[in-house]
Symmetry: C2
């Protein structure tokens, strides 16, 4: 694209903040660099070593990303666990023990009540020396709310003061960045540090949010920062995005302990320009990250996965009916959540509300904590809740959810027959129903606040509760009515027919699918949690139904909705453009506008060009042979033009306002005694993309997507007619979808 | 691209055999069709139902493909199993029982010797009434070779007579077809029928080949045939290729029982233009196929996977050294195999050898059978061999490979300590070493013969043997030298340190990786076989090493090498074009050639155009405003032009040789009394792709790949200068890689 034989002027070829990169140019630059290294490698041993190390630097980078993001994830897990327990009490054996570790080696622990040991002191025990009675309850309640508020306050303040980009889940922005947008500092070291700290605080505060989405952001920050150690990646925006895409895979990999699911997530959701090339490296990074996390062993069970489940009963074909019902529920929840959450976020953006983020966070935290404490299912951390809901009741399980009447004691091994529910199950059902309502409402207001907040865990919790409720209902139905036609073929009395934990899992997948619209990656993540192909069909049925239902109510997933809310220039790669418009309908100038601003190749003076620059705001100008012929020569970027002229005025002797600028190979013939000319062919893009004015927009959109263009010139019968920028394309798409085209804010 | 308001002439917009499709045009046509259906759907209920059924037809198609390919795979498995056993004997209880089923319910079977039962009669028992002695051995030997020759003869004859396309693995051709090439009949019903039958015959004949690759071809045939039931897919080459890509996933899914691996294989290896859009549907098809196969249950063990393995011992970090050694072996084998196999295939193509395919097959079969019978590891089917090699020796295993001296009987459960090898193991090692040599040599000559033959299983067998040999060696080393520094930290006496089965598995992955250069999909397929993330790291280390070693010795995988050997126009999507050439170096006409053949938009007569058509062989012509200006208007395809002119001469009154053909919107002004003009704007592509002459070829290659172009026009300062076709690009790439550019045969 450019002439690299001459020494480049510093600054030429870089981008401003909040601008879109030119993928083609970046890739070209990388290939030039690669060619140069390869050619040199034949000259000396040193150059050969340099060439080999350059080739392997990508793998080294992946290794480092995996190690760093795995370690950070372990650190976050451990600290969040400790601080969550801090809300309830402290360990007298050592302040640094969380509840579980505190009672781990205690001699006083009975099997029935693993969580009670004298070393662990609740706040009431510490402060008023008792754990009984209403007053102790109030003390504990008060301390719980107080800690929650303290954590939330710290989190929101740190974000506001040090790194405003650390809030939210980060996935919408990462999608946008990977599609070629530049947001300086979004993946910087401050964001990394503050996001790591505030994520722990936010999770510990008991708010209805998860750490899984933000972990992707954290991993991408690691990737971006580590890129600075390697020339190859530091200087090239396209190469850096390849690394970020792998880092996103590592993030999901540590979030769920699902490396393959992580790679597919990166492929399906966040990658944009290079889906396949980095597949193998992403996989490597994801695996390293997962194994680093496992060797840190934050869950204390040597398991790689967040929720390890093992079911003993196969599912029956008839059960697809409740699974599909769960899918419908998930789809409805997804669509409802996206609508209400976006409406609320829009309100926050446009009204006074947005000006008091600290107060907002404190209010939501206070409400969450006050409502959460009395109900054990809301008080426990959301990931613990999900674990418990996924769990298949064994013989020795002592939780309320497993309080069945053990009428038939004919169990063999782990297989338990369906039993009638006991009082504990019924009361758990009521509490879970309340939890469901609370989670649904509070999550809508939580996601989007100015603290790090992920959506995976709350969505999964909603689905898991709904699923467990339905599962227990089905189980009891099958127990009491095993003579019904729908049951009697496969569910005889005393058999173990229905696993409520599986329903919880299917529900979780359905709700997560409804909100994020993930498909394959979702099923694979869930598959990696169970480790058996057996349950893929239920998961798939629910995920498919959920996606269809949610899509019918609104095409966008939550991340795309947030991208649109923020006006980022993201060109969706999966949606087909369905309208029958032509390039001439979209290009600038419009029919009645003044003519397109062009430069001529060898007849404009420095002053002329400077006037054009100051009178317009376009980010680039086509260069033509002459204004009469309108025959296109190339395209020059505004930023490069400004830098080059400034540079020439400073350094090149005799360049004045009346100097002729020329973009041709050879200087045009000049009369004598004119000031020296200025050659700018080296900043001219000699292969601008062109389409004809009659090209259907669907093809133009495709070209923009696939080639990662910033702009494209429009010709008619060989004459230059206009220009289409990425922003024009996005505005046109918004317009055709009856949305406000001015919602696209950036270039 | 085209004007669809007028009734299209039949034939316009279709392709000739051995031509490349225009992806952009096909996609445009599909979108037009979709738009039409969506618009109509608002008019009547019937149209609405049509629109909905159209939207869901894709899913229905996937379901059918899954069911059909799963059933066919089951059928092939069962018949191949039966016919393989037929070489050794028959069941007197019923001819349709294979050896295993024959002895299944027999009362006379002892636990130690599951395979011996009176109902199963070897040929010597049937013919000379004894199974003992040298003569019986010779009879069995003779019958074994005879059956093998019969099966092979039948297979090669059927292929030759009915469906020449049924030979080989089919994957190179499927890759080419998915990239947009047309080979009529390659995925037709005859190919399907004959390939299914001959695949069973070929596998049963005992040749060193597998059924996994051809199963992908079979699944793609199913996909292609089922496409004919749906208008949406029958008429559109691009849509059909989306279906084929999903069918390929279903094929791998049934071949290995690995649905996720199948989807990734399709994504990594065969898909071309639409990697992500069809991911979810591919996954659905792969899953349906896998479950169909499982319900047919050909392996008789309710397992989904081909080789089910369960290991009990974790691996130690030090073991990465032998794993990497296996990776190096795999890479060397891959590179060696590709070179020698391609050299042999080239010899077959260019010399007399290729004219006697039947004799070739018979000779190779005879040699294979004669060498195979005396050695039990070559006599058994290759997949059985791999199963046995992967197997971790349990306490009750009676095979020779597990004949260890059971010195310490302190085993708990399934965990066995490392033990010294017994005589059986040593003799098995020798036999395996012989098997290894034989498989390596014979596979080179087998792959590429005129019978269906897959490469997965023989490659895996080579690797598994090497791995098992190394594994047993390591095991014995660790047993006898557990005081060595490398062992004493982790392998105390009497511990179970080393699992030879795992080494076999790692070796199989390494060899398969060396031959096919699969990466992620390979690891995921292997992961699905073991079902535990535990062993991903060894597999990945071996696969990575193997790919690096093999790539260092030759960039191409076996499929790409065969594509090049056959001269198919396949533009590799993963390799970057690394040379610094420009579009002007590649375009036609070359510097000293006559000018580019163009049509003018409104001044050529029918006769002029017919002269141009008959004097040239180009498949399309640019249309310009006038010869002087060389300003490009559009591009017209030769085939469309011929059909349209013929059609006009037949049906349109007054069109004669002197009629003016015009491509403009309005007819040019004509003097009175001239013959009626012929308007051909409807076949004119008004949005041809153009690049400038100074565009680097790396960008041009990228455009061809990503947009799926057939040709691209080259301009200089707005004037038409030349044309680059896909064939030109491929020839240029071959030339830059120092290969013969004339090896590219088709358009």
């Amino acid at each position: 694209m450019m002439d690299f034989l001459e020494e480049p002027i510093p600054g030429v070829g870089t981008y401003d903040d909040f601008n879109t990169i030119d993928w083609v140019r970046e890739k070209s630059r990388d290939r030039d660099r690669h060619r140069e290294i390869t050619n040199k490698s034949k000259e000396s041993t040193w150059a050969l070593i340099h060439s080999v190390s350059d080739a392997f630097s990508g793998w080294l980078l992946m290794l480092l990303i995996g190690l760093l993001s795995g370690s950070l994830a372990g650190l976050i897990d451990i600290s969040a666990h400790w601080m969550t327990d801090l809300k309830e009490g402290i360990c007298t054996r050592g302040l640094w023990f969380n509840h579980e570790h505190c009672c781990w080696n205690s001699e006083h622990v009975t099997f029935e009540d693993k969580d009670k040991c004298p070393e662990w002191n609740s706040w009431s025990q510490l402060l008023i020396n008792t754990d009984e009675g209403a007053f102790a309850y109030i003390v504990n309640y008060f301390m719980y709310v107080l800690w929650a508020l303290l954590f939330a306050f710290l989190a929101v303040s740190l974000v506001r003061v040090f790194a405003p980009y650390a809030c939210g889940s980060g996935i919408p922005e990462i999608k946008t960045i990977l599609s070629g947008f530049i947001i300086r500092g979004y993946l910087g070291k401050w964001t990394l540090i503050i996001k790591t700290i505030t994520l722990v605080l936010a999770v510990s505060s008991g708010l209805s949010l998860g750490k899984e989405g933000p972990l992707v952001h954290v991993a991408c920050c690691c990737g971006n920062i580590l890129c600075h150690c390697f020339n190859k990646y530091r200087k090239n925006e396209a190469k850096r995005r390849e690394v970020l895409s792998a880092a996103a895979a590592a993030g999901v990999s540590v979030a769920f302990g699902a490396p393959i699911g992580g790679v597919l997530f990166s492929l399906e959701e966040v990658s944009y320009y290079f889906p396949l090339k980095t597949l193998w490296r992403s996989f490597f990074a994801a695996l390293v990250a997962a194994f680093t996390l496992r060797s840190i062993n934050p869950f204390g069970n040597s398991r790689l996965v967040l929720f390890y489940v093992e079911f003993h009963t196969p599912w029956h074909l008839f059960e697809l009916v409740p699974f599909i019902l769960l899918g419908i529920f998930g789809g409805l929840w997804g669509a409802l959540f996206i609508r209400t959450n976006i409406a609320w976020c829009r309100k926050r953006k446009t009204t006074q509300l947005g000006k008091y983020p600290v107060i907002e966070v404190l209010i939501v935290t206070a409400i969450t904590a006050i409502l959460a404490f009395p109900n054990e299912y809301t008080r426990m951390s959301t990931s613990e809740l999900i674990s418990e809901l996924f769990n298949d009741c064994g013989l020795l399980d002592s939780s309320k959810l497993c309080d069945y009447e053990n009428r038939f004691n004919t169990s063999k091994g782990d297989e338990l027959p369906d039993r009638p529910a006991g009082a504990g199950v019924y009361s758990a059902m009521w509490q879970l129903a309340l939890t469901l309502v609370m989670k649904i409402v509070i999550t809508i207001f939580t996601f989007g606040m100015k603290i790090p907040s992920g959506l995976f865990i709350p969505s999964m919790a909603v689905g898991a509760i709904a699923g467990r409720l339905l599962g227990v209902g089905m189980e009891q139905l099958a127990y009491y009515h095993h003579d019904w036609a729908i049951f009697n073929s496969w569910c005889s009395q005393g058999a173990d027919c229905i696993t409520p934990g599986l329903y919880a899992m299917v529900g979780a997948a359905a709700c997560l699918g409804g909100v994020t619209r993930m498909t394959v990656s979702l099923v694979v993540i869930m598959f990696e949690l169970t480790g058996g192909l057996e349950y893929i069909v239920p998961l798939m049925a629910a995920a498919m139904t959920s996606k269809w239902v949610a899509d019918a109510l609104g095409r966008e997933g939550i991340y795309d909705a947030h991208i649109r809310l923020n006006g980022y220039p993201f060109l969706e790669a999966k949606e087909e453009f369905a309208h029958k418009t032509l390039a001439m309908d979209v290009m600038k100038p419009r029919r009645n506008d003044p003519l397109l601003t062009v430069l001529t190749q060898d007849s404009m003076t420095v002053e002329d060009v400077e006037t054009v620059i100051s009178e317009t705001t376009y980010s680039g100008f086509p260069v033509v042979v002459s204004r009469e012929s309108q025959r296109l020569v190339g395209f020059v970027l505004r930023r490069d033009l400004i830098i080059s002229i400034e540079n020439a005025r400073k350094k090149q002797d005799g360049v004045v306002s009346t100097s002729i600028i020329y973009f041709t190979e050879h200087s045009p013939p000049m009369p004598p005694y004119t000031p020296p000319t200025l050659k700018l062919r080296n900043i001219l893009d000699l292969s601008p993309f062109t389409v004809t004015d009659l090209t259907p927009m669907e093809i133009v959109v495709d070209i923009f997507r696939k080639l990662g263009l910033r702009q494209c010139l429009v010709t008619h019968n060989g004459r230059l007619l206009g220009i289409i920028t990425k922003k024009d394309v996005l505005k046109h798409i918004a317009q055709m979808a009856n949305q406000d085209p001015d919602s696209i804010l950036f270039n």
